[in-house]
Point group: C2
Chain length 335, copies 2
Amino acid sequence: MSDATEIRIRELPKDKLSADHFELATVAMPEAGPEHILCETLYLSLDPANRAWMQGATYRSAIEGGQVMAGYTLGRVLESNHPNFEPGDLVEGDGGWRSHFVLKGKHASPVAPRDPLSHILSAYGITSKTAYAGMLAIGKPKAGDTVVVSAAAGATGSVAAQIAKASGARVVGIAGGERKCAWLTDTLGLDAAIDYRGDNLFEAMKRTCPDGIDVYFDNVGGSTLEAALFRMNRLGRIVCCGVVSQYDTGNPSPGPRGVPGLLVTKSLHMQGFLVMDYPELMDKADDDLASWIKSGQLKVAEDIVEGLANAPQGLVGLLAGENIGKRMVRVGTEK
Amino acid sequence: MSDATEIRIRELPKDKLSADHFELATVAMPEAGPEHILCETLYLSLDPANRAWMQGATYRSAIEGGQVMAGYTLGRVLESNHPNFEPGDLVEGDGGWRSHFVLKGKHASPVAPRDPLSHILSAYGITSKTAYAGMLAIGKPKAGDTVVVSAAAGATGSVAAQIAKASGARVVGIAGGERKCAWLTDTLGLDAAIDYRGDNLFEAMKRTCPDGIDVYFDNVGGSTLEAALFRMNRLGRIVCCGVVSQYDTGNPSPGPRGVPGLLVTKSLHMQGFLVMDYPELMDKADDDLASWIKSGQLKVAEDIVEGLANAPQGLVGLLAGENIGKRMVRVGTEK
């Protein structure tokens, strides 16, 4: 068989990530040992959490310099030494930044085809299911509530905001730049948008949330979380989904003022979570997401980077906020 | 009738509170108008929240200079123009720092006698019920959990810690000074104590909580909350009950590092609350508290200041942490 390619971390970033922190290598085609499967990578998911993994142990062990970059992948089985899989099957797993990957069969998840296949990572992927679990199990928006979502043009935020709309809430999205803000109101149909690059956040939240905030779905942390805290209504819920403002820096900011003071005086509920905390919701999530896509209540936004070699710049750009919707890398060809 | 006395706020504090911020005044005995009751004050509750009220609006409107200081009181009815009360009845309410107070009948709560009467404000008072609701409805300690309580020698903390013990948890209390720490382990029977004045909090939590923290009942905020966040176990609960480290200052510290980052990576649940959020638990709280007192699992600690004139110094001392257990002022005489 021909060679395979992989992208390694040449050196861990001390501050901002750049494409220079990675290097492409050509290697021998990996082989599937006993109980393992060999797959070709179709799509590689790019996520802000990739950068957090470089900062130390999180819910997974830290990534070290010299290693192949970790990443969630959609692959097609080429060879299988595991009874659950046969060539041609689609699988998801932590395949890493590779043209071909080998996983233990028990570490790969079989996945049903979708049309297009990229929907497996976008509409029905981890980011969508994260939005689903966080918004519905923690945020619990009711009709008439005001819901604010940060990084609302991103993969998770855009789905979280649309789920809140489908729940009957008034939804305000926060994003960077006029193009994204226009997309939030004009394409997704949100009730208002805040440009965090141009607006004073405290004033913008006051203007767009005249009745206060009942649910804040937070993807960014930092000063945006702080501004939301001061605008929360009594008994409000803050869904802590991510901290993208703090991933790509060697100098994280202090925590937001108002913690825990405003939590006490306003009886606020603030909860962090990972999608894997809610396995019991996943089947219903697939059904509900499909139903909202069909009804037009959920618009799927994808931002596809072509070719594994462009993954480093794709991640750097994601951290700079250049994407709208779910960014992924097309690595192999759909057949 | 004779004169009454009251204590007014001469000037709001800009930084630390001192007794000079108050002034005692002799006034004519107040009169009960229609639908009102006139009461003599038996006990005045002193609470860290009294200081927070001077910082601006919280769950109640802010206190202003020139006003009589607000405070929760236990009184005995002298005159009643309200059908629910008659002379001799015991009532609770926001009577303020007064020898005698007048309230609308609908703003006073009838209360059954206890022996001693001071138990109405200590064992069965707002601080005990706050500990009860926060620990059981939010903290939810299970047998074998490690529970950490800050301000554990205070009115709320001492009860919260003992309720966690009664739930079968391993309990570590944080307090200031050797005397309080010895009281936590020797009198209350907690499993360990941390002296926040002498110990490095990060190291002390590592030493006393080798299996991490499952429930942190936070009365103080600030650096203690930050240290606990880094020691929390996955799916842990942080009960945000108060922020006493931030009340008596004109220069509040920034929020704790780790918010929201550690909430996300460890799926932490952080919730602020007020006891009034849990009216449905109050009858059971009275029953459970009485049962634990009877079984010896709950030791009632009171710290009684004699005389209304000593209320200012009593509050200043409370904020400096000189009390063990529930501090109150004996204003009138039990008959």
